[in-house]
Symmetry: C2
Subunit: 317 residues, 2 copies
């Protein structure tokens, strides 16, 4: 990292939007030494409160995020929104439509909005979203909202990285089953039945409360199920209030620190994994694998090949 | 591996159902040396044709799988069904209901049915499903059907491991958007609009064909979109026929081998990754990480910690 990196880090710490945008691009492009930049700003990370908002497409996440961000802005807090879409490039346009609704917010210099889509492997997307959050955290954004599409591993990873996770559903039945299936019930700290002016909203609320009740004995936190109509800005203030209740709950008994320690552990594990993999697959080993795929795979199972390739190395661990 | 392992391997290769069940339990429990067992049977792997069937809950996957398996049985082929449910233990009961519909099949000794649910980490589930498939392949099952719930990373991993992947939807609109979002459009070799006696089926078929058409220029294979009513056994013969058409397509120009090579590459990479991680996190390093989480994380970023822990090691790579 040149002097350039240090200057960029200082500009980020002073809250310079251009510097933040530049740093995010470096992360997305995996530019040389971008981790060094993260290292330089890391001491200032940890002040932001991180909120995850997840739910199926069409449940109104962007609209709710929009009004929630406005509320937080009215408290004079800087707000960042990271919209993560693990959609393939083929269908990557979809989320852009949602962004238009945020037009008003984009005029506000106290708000930073960034969409992140997958480029190639899904594996790195959640990790990158967390690195982007660190930049925004260091730049003084008091609230960082992750908005994710729904039900995959990327979303679960991001939910684990949020302090409060809000799960959205709509009154129509299918979503709840989807949500249950994908483990969303476990990750939600707060549930919202949006579009609650449509039939079935109260039934959905009762169903959710019932299912949440089943798991209650094991946990200290009892998630609320709220009814909202996001596009009419109805009950978003209640959402904001319940987030603050959960925040206070976490701040008691060192729970927030515990949650963040877990997050940190996962970060270190992820970094170690990707560094080891990058180092392992050098030219010699890639050639060996290519030869195996070409003609040797009838002689040895993948288990034996992996073992052979690792044998010498693992002794040095 | 004791003599026991060799005997078990021989029994598997002779098609002994009890031995197959035992081997699968070893894989699920990660019993000592289960990889050695996979190594012993590996030379006999590769004869089975692997079919992935995926779609949202309630789209009729089990019912279609049921009739498809019967059709394949009528051709005197042994059939195995692996139902993979990446549901959390909390909601793990759901898929069992579906299994009841397969009662008739379970009476047939030429059919092997196994449900696999996540136990702890999702990461290992897809890998284990593929290992189970290898056992069944070596035991002489000519068709292996993976049935998966839908839209997560586990399902995508399994789809990559199938020779032909069939994506199911129902006429009601939401599913297609879900599917698009999760990248199901890219992984499908064949699409089925099930419950096509309900309104909107033809529209859904046209919509799917249109979206598939958009990507067509880039690919050699043009997926069909079929209409079925699985619970009335309608058009399952067409599904079976289109699978055979896709199979023939793959068998031309070495495509099947290419696909399987890619699968093998991923297997080796996965094995290397998990072995390295297991070896890396020895007691000393776990202690270092614990200390960091307890009190040192304000001094160093996770990037620096990971780098420090890896520094000496990576030199030896």
């Amino acid at each position: 990292m040149t002097e350039n990196g240090k200057i960029l880090a200082e500009r980020i710490l002073s809250g310079d939007r251009m510097a933040v945008a530049k740093a995010i691009s470096r992360i997305e492009d995996e530019a040389d030494n971008y981790q060094r930049l993260l290292d330089l700003i890391y001491y200032a990370v940890g002040k932001a409160y991180r909120i995850g908002i997840t739910g199926p497409p069409g449940s109104g996440k962007s609209t709710l995020t929009n009004y929630l961000a406005k509320l937080l802005r009215s408290e004079e807090k800087k707000v960042a929104i990271i919209a993560v879409d693990p959609t393939s490039p083929f269908t990557g346009g979809a989320i852009l439509g949602d962004r238009f609704r945020m037009h008003e917010l984009t005029m506000d210099t106290g708000v930073f909005i960034r969409s992140m889509a997958t480029r190639g492997s899904l594996g790195g997307l959640a990790a990158k979203a967390l690195e982007v959050a660190d930049i925004l955290d260091a730049a003084g954004y008091a609230y960082i909202i992750f908005e994710t599409v729904g039900v995959g591993q990327v979303e679960l990873d991001i939910a684990e990285a949020a302090d409060t996770t809000l799960v959205m559903v709509v009154p129509e039945g299918g979503d709840i089953i989807q949500g249950l299936k994908a483990g969303l019930m476990e990750i939600g700290d707060l549930f919202v039945v949006n579009k609650s002016d449509r039939p079935g909203a109260h039934q959905m609320q009762r169903d959710l409360e019932y299912v949440l009740h089943l798991r209650e004995s094991a946990v200290e936190w009892h998630p609320k199920v709220l009814l909202t109509v996001a596009h009419k800005n109805q009950n978003i203030d209640k959402v904001r209030y319940e987030i603050s209740v959960h925040k206070r709950f976490l701040e008691e008994k060192n729970r927030l620190q515990g949650k963040r320690n877990k997050r940190l552990r996962r970060r270190v594990e992820m970094l170690v994994r990707s560094e080891m993999e990058n180092s392992f697959w050098n030219e010699e080993r890639l050639n060996k694998l290519a030869t195996y795929l070409q003609k040797d795979h009838k002689k040895r199972s993948p288990y034996r090949l992996a073992q052979e390739m690792l044998e010498e190395l693992l002794k040095r661990f």
